[in-house]
């Protein structure tokens, strides 16, 4: 057991932390949000240059062979900066499907484009009534020659508006909620059968509703047995989100503590009021719990034991959800009115935490999974 970073990891952490600190200030971020896709193409190029877009891919394809720890380092820094670019969508989600599901040829074709920043991906897996159940798939894929024809609707596709290619879960067989019969299909966003309505999300990121009307796609991996790959990739994405959330929570606590030292009411710093002190301590405790479980998620995200992985990831998501809600709500309450404004940074973290709680399954959704998985000890 060794909690220290390797030298490479430390270098990576330093460079990403510095990038975010130098380039992703609150005002810069506002500017990025106003750009074409709601994020900065320039920063995206920077990520490519720093090798962040190739982090998890094998060196054979021009990647850097990083693992969940490296991804976590990046995501934690991105959490601090409230980074807007489609890193999770492209590298973790889309890239994850490619890494775990695609053939060698497909990887050879696609990975170098991702690494270079030339290919943006999005995973389209949510449907109107699927909620967070990956197996609840009504979109259909029908074999047609060497490819598939996709029909149906996907919802809240993270960065689906700017993606060059979409990875779509669709059913080649089985009933609507069967685990079998699900494939993942790569669809060109410019395909005539694809129509997209993009919109900002509550936290200032972007998503899209996407319709497929006889859109053409190619299967990534087993066209009827891709659910395990999707599940694995979503678990990796949850682990990454946990790290992002820890970054954001840490900032919220730091900003709140700082405010408590500065802000005066009734003739003294509000941080001198014992009630507020203890509430800051409970935020600190919530952050420690979140850090611990994000670490567990990172450690388990790459486990081949799907059952143990799922349990640990769900447990981590529960902790992150609870800690994020607690820290976010308390950060706002301890600040008072100022944190209710868009001009102040804390509210933006709070909104991001609230969305993270909803992504890939709410706290209750994952608690139910842990509850039914037979005990953690």
């Amino acid at each position: 057991m060794d909690f220290d970073f390797s030298e490479d990891q430390r270098l990576l952490k330093d460079s990403v932390d510095r990038l975010v600190a130098d380039r992703y200030g609150f005002e810069s971020r506002k500017g990025f949000a106003k750009q074409a896709n709601g994020w900065s193409a320039e920063m995206w190029a920077q990520y490519a240059e720093l090798g962040l877009l190739g982090l998890p891919f094998s060196e054979d394809h021009g990647g850097f062979g990083g693992g969940a720890i490296e991804t976590g380092l990046v995501m934690e820094a991105f959490g601090r900066g409230l980074v807007l670019e489609p890193y999770l969508a492209t590298v973790v989600l889309g890239g994850g499907i490619i890494r775990h599901g695609a053939s060698a040829e497909q990887q050879e074709e696609l990975v170098p484009q991702i690494v270079a920043g030339d290919l943006k991906l999005a995973l389209a897996h949510v449907e109107r009534h699927s909620r967070w159940n990956l197996n609840d798939v009504a979109v259909t894929a029908k074999a047609d020659g060497s490819g598939y024809v996709i029909n149906g609707e996907k919802s809240v596709v993270l960065h689906g508006d700017c993606a060059d290619k979409l990875l779509v879960t669709a059913r080649t067989g089985g009933a609507q909620r069967d685990a079998g019969g699900i494939g993942v299909f790569l669809v060109d966003a410019s395909d005539a059968g694809v129509s997209r309505k993009g919109y900002p999300t509550q936290d200032g990121l972007r998503a899209a509703e996407v319709s497929f009307a006889n859109a053409r796609g190619v299967a990534i991996g087993d066209a009827g047995g891709a659910l395990p790959v999707v599940s694995r990739v979503v678990d990796e994405a949850i682990a990454a989100l946990c790290s992002e959330a820890v970054g954001g929570m840490g900032e919220m606590l730091a900003i709140t503590v700082d405010y408590m030292k500065q802000r005066k009411q009734f003739g003294r710093a509000i941080g001198e009021f014992q009630v507020l002190q203890h509430r800051a301590v409970d935020m600190f405790a919530a952050l420690e719990g979140a850090k611990s479980m994000a670490m567990l998620a990172t450690m388990m995200a790459t486990s081949d034991d799907a059952k143990a992985r799922r349990q640990a990831i769900s447990a981590a998501k529960v902790q992150i959800g609870k800690s994020g809600k607690h820290i976010g709500e308390e950060a706002v309450q301890l600040h008072g009115g100022i944190a209710m404004t868009m001009e102040y940074k804390v509210g933006h973290y709070f909104k991001r935490m609230t969305m993270i709680e909803q992504m890939f399954g709410s706290t209750d959704h994952h608690l139910a999974y842990v509850a039914n998985s037979g005990g953690m000890f």
């Binding site: 009534h129 909620r177 309450q333 209710m340 609230t354 909803q358």
Partner: protein, 400 residues
């Protein structure tokens, strides 16, 4: 002891319900029940209908349009308004400046201001909070200096709700800088069109524009705009803040929301099953229902007990109404988000360009869920934060 409503009270409730559900446009009431925002015109429309029927200012002196209702009647009036999505008469007019003028104002002031406040012919806003004075309201620094027959006001107010619609503002100003904190403050009225008053919108985290900063730069208003005694504006403020003892819990609003949550939870699915059939969801809903029932009973107990408390000496349990009422209202926003699941995420700006999320993707009731959750965090902050309420109760029960 008889805890059921009397036949007269039941009839009173029925009469109000009939009036509210027939006289106030359905479109307005639906927006309120769905937690959507009303336009200025809708708010004015609703209040004028109430006022035309003598129901806008029941809490005022009878002479000025009040009703002299029993506390239980006041409770029923508020409950029925909230249950049926009737917009409350604008609080700045009817619970704040109106009662203050009725209590502390001169006859001339009463004649000039009260009727038009009741009818929302004039829209008032509240100039109390300042950037440096949040929970510590009495540390305010906006000052008014007597120059000839006028007051010259300089300073800054903030969190001024709906000031974008306002015609007039009532301002707490420091008139005696040498006096102790809560002394030397005066309550002064100002026409928002007076030169030197500027407003800056504040965008809140729900995306909306509900509050404003107001700047006073050598704003000159007539001396007669002082309400009550010079330097005794804190009395007006205390009277105003303590004025609304019931209603703050918004029991009726939460009741209506819980009913709506139960309806909507039948429309969203998890694993092919409506959410309302999930034992877990039902228990969460039931837990909030029980809290609300307890709050309603507490409110009724306080209402009934009012006769035992001197005016201005509220039962310490009153602060519990704010504490519990805010927590419950906030809990309803969480249940609403839970219902729509991933559809809480889209943020589609309204056509009005005011930054609100009005249309949305997914089910139409999804659009308001996130913004309302964010916006309603304010409920435990404003009107005396929950921390301040706890300080008040602590003082009452411990003496420290």
């Amino acid at each position: 002891m008889d805890l059921s409503f009397t036949p007269e009270e039941v009839a009173f409730r029925q009469e109000l319900r009939t009036f509210f559900t027939t006289a106030i446009p359905q479109s307005i009431r639906t927006k309120v029940l769905e937690g959507q925002h009303l336009t200025k015109e809708e708010i004015i429309t609703a209040q004028r209908i109430l006022n035309a029927n003598g129901l806008a200012v029941p809490n005022w002196p009878v002479e000025w349009g009040g009703k002299d209702w029993s506390p239980v009647q006041v409770y029923i009036y508020q409950d029925e308004m909230q249950l049926n999505g009737v917009p409350s008469p604008l609080a700045f007019n009817t619970s704040m400046v109106g009662p203050v003028i009725a209590q502390f104002g001169t006859d001339a002031q009463k004649k000039r201001y009260l009727a038009e406040a009741a009818n929302l012919d004039v829209w008032w806003c509240q100039g109390f909070s300042e950037p440096g004075a949040g929970s510590d309201l009495a540390s305010l620094r906006t000052k008014a200096e007597r120059v000839g027959d006028t007051w010259v006001i300089n300073g800054q107010k903030t969190w001024t709700t709906l000031a974008q619609h306002a015609d007039w503002i009532f301002v707490l100003c420091r008139t005696d800088p040498t006096a102790k904190k809560q002394e030397g403050i005066s309550f002064i009225l100002a026409d928002m069109k007076t030169p030197g008053i500027t407003r800056r919108p504040i965008q809140t985290i729900d995306g909306g524009h509900e509050v404003n900063e107001i700047f006073f730069d050598n704003v000159v208003v007539p001396a007669e705009n002082l309400v009550g005694e010079l330097h005794r504006g804190w009395d007006c403020a205390k009277f105003l803040l303590g004025n609304e003892r019931t209603g703050i819990a918004r029991v009726g609003t939460s009741k209506a929301r819980l009913k709506r949550i139960r309806e909507l939870a039948a429309l969203e699915f998890e694993g092919g099953t409506p959410l309302i059939e999930s034992e877990k969801f039902r228990e969460k809903l039931a837990a909030v229902e029980i809290e609300l029932k307890a709050l309603e009973m507490t409110q009724l107990r306080i209402v009934a007990d009012e006769k035992n408390h001197a005016k201005g000496k509220p039962n310490p349990a009153s602060s519990i109404l704010k504490l519990k009422g805010s927590t419950i209202q906030q809990a309803t926003t969480e249940l609403m988000m839970e219902i729509v699941g991933p559809y809480v995420m889209p943020f589609a700006e309204s056509d009005e360009g005011d930054g609100r999320n009005e249309t949305g993707y997914g089910p139409e009731y999804a659009a308001g869920t996130g913004p309302t959750y964010f916006n309603w965090r304010k409920i435990s902050i404003y009107g005396g934060s929950n921390e301040i309420q706890r300080n008040i109760v602590a003082k009452a029960i411990l003496g420290f």
